[in-house]
Point group: C2
DNA sequence: TTGTAGGCGTTATCAG
DNA sequence: CTGATAACGCCTACAA
């Protein structure tokens, strides 16, 4: 790797001049510029980003902190983040936090030491005071604080949509598999469900069972639910993964979707469409969420004005086979 | 952020001494060491990784280049890579290449400029000469070259396993949905299939249809296949995603899995287990592949001896509902 | 055992 | 318009 000094020598100018043509800053006679450009070409010179970073205290690296990239919700998000970042000349560092405070703290240290320019954070674990003041942050999906730019979807409204939809297609008794109560997103969806059904005469608390946003536990929970309420004819799962779990449980008890039980999830991940029958769901604009969050972050990093710090994106009801009858 | 100089001042020593206690190099009187340690604590000092990198020409950053993190095969891989990397104090940069040479080249430039220490590459696009000589590489899943450490699974043997399995459970006419012919991995699996069935009297070339490792096209291909060969009773799909596509096609023609047609995929991604019926598959040890590749890479980076440059991992036949009858 | 000084590759300031 | 030179923060000879 040749350095700016090599280029300077070859072009018979000082490093300062080379630096000027690299950054298009200051005055350089067009003749000299040509010579420098030629030298750069000849040597296949590329400026050393590390050295630049040391000066500017900026690396054009951002971190994406998700609980677990293996959870099918996050790859699409990551894709969006990386796409937008790349366009603006940024690079994305992937961090799996496992919702583990220790790990998250570890990442924060690294972010500080490696001069990461900012981060997109999906977490409800990390408390505000663990964030580094100087490092820009955008919160995604799981709200943590009001003073930080945040991107979410309309979880409450989406849950209402889902539940009403089940009523619309004729369900008379609807259960809900909610996510962990300590996750705000899960709470919102639960509240949306409650908003619609709480006053119904058939409603009872035992129609709500708790999962952990994963398949397995949701399957168990659904089994319990069905055992207790044999006459359930509709289920709203707090996310698509749990909807799949519910589907398995339903099949296991010999019932059919949608004939015996209509089923709808939340998120709109690829999986919901891959299933047979295809699962109805309330789709979040996952890619957009990632893209918007990234643009927001880059603006903060580059000290550009931010239009709005709170983005709550619309969701879309997707009716598919699992609620079609 | 305090610097090494601040610490030195506070501890009343030179920066050299501080550096020594940081890196545990050279002699430092235990008293002075204590003083320095205390000063570091007081100031909450963290060495600046960028400055260190500028010296060492090492960043403890590695890149993971995959076609598309959105493809369910890769998140698990990425997870493994990140897990191992983190343990060894490395950080992972995520790159989606889309199998696009231009993009890959762009990443190579960045890798060079940002002093990325090495990369794990999943690609059949990039030619060897595009790699940067000084940057260690490990190839994963899709073989590119013999001189570079490589991690794959036994694709050929796995395909034989899958095909034999279909015969074992009584299939009399087996079709294959292969991946793109220009991808070595897809070829191997096709060859494995051929090895088993080529000599059978019922075999014909038209039992092989080509997909692109994605769901949609595989569904179309399967529809064609079924139209041409109404008597097919077993299908081996080149990967799980295509198996899902096949499942949809099969259902669409009113047939049932496994009663009318037994179906098996390849990869062992989460999706195969999520489906109903659960899909049989030849599982690759995806996580292990990522972990091994990463350890291999880190060894190369740190100039440690490598036991073996070519790792071909065993696959496992997982019989599930889609081939149980 | 500790300190001084030069270098890693760039950029920015200040002269000329 | 161009060139020296001092940062950026750290490490490592070489001296002391």
């Amino acid at each position: 790797m040749s350095t700016i000094r090599d280029v300077a020598k070859r072009a018979q100018v000082s490093v300062a001049t080379v630096s000027r043509v690299i950054n298009n800053s200051g005055y350089v006679q067009s003749e000299t510029r040509e010579r420098v450009l030629k030298a750069m070409q000849d040597l296949n010179y590329k400026p050393n980003a590390i050295a630049q970073s040391l000066n500017h205290k900026k690396t054009r690296n951002i971190a994406l902190v998700v609980p677990d990239i293996t959870n099918p919700f996050f790859p699409e998000l990551a894709r969006a983040v990386e796409d937008v970042a790349r366009i603006y000349g940024y690079t994305v560092i992937l961090c799996n936090s496992d919702e583990d405070l220790k790990k998250e703290q570890g990442y924060m240290d690294i972010i500080q030491q490696k001069y990461i320019d900012g981060l997109i954070l999906v977490s409800h674990t990390l408390k505000l005071n663990h964030l580094i003041d100087e490092v820009p942050v955008v919160l995604l999906d799981r709200l943590v604080d009001q003073n930080i730019p945040t991107v979410t979807a309309k979880n409450y409204e989406g849950a209402i949509l889902a539940t009403r939809h089940l009523l619309d297609i004729g369900c008379r008794k609807i259960g809900h598999i909610c996510g962990p109560k300590y996750i705000p997103t899960a709470q919102r969806r639960l509240q949306g469900y409650l908003h619609v059904v709480e006053q119904m005469e058939w409603f009872s608390d035992s129609l709500i069972v708790e999962g952990n946003f994963q398949l397995e536990l949701a399957k168990e929970a659904t089994l319990h639910l069905l055992a207790e309420h044999a006459d359930i004819d509709g289920i709203f799962a707090g996310n698509d993964l749990m909807a799949v779990g519910a589907l398995k449980a339903i099949h296991q008890t010999g019932r059919k979707v949608p004939q015996d039980i209509a089923l709808i999830g939340f998120d709109g991940i690829f999986l919901s469409k891959a299933m047979e029958p295809e699962l109805s769901t309330v789709a979040q604009p996952i890619y957009d969420m990632g893209a918007i969050a990234t643009r927001l972050l880059l603006k903060k990093i580059e000290d550009q004005p931010i239009d709005s710090a709170y983005h709550e994106l619309d969701v879309t009801l997707l009716q598919r086979a699992s609620t079609r009858r």
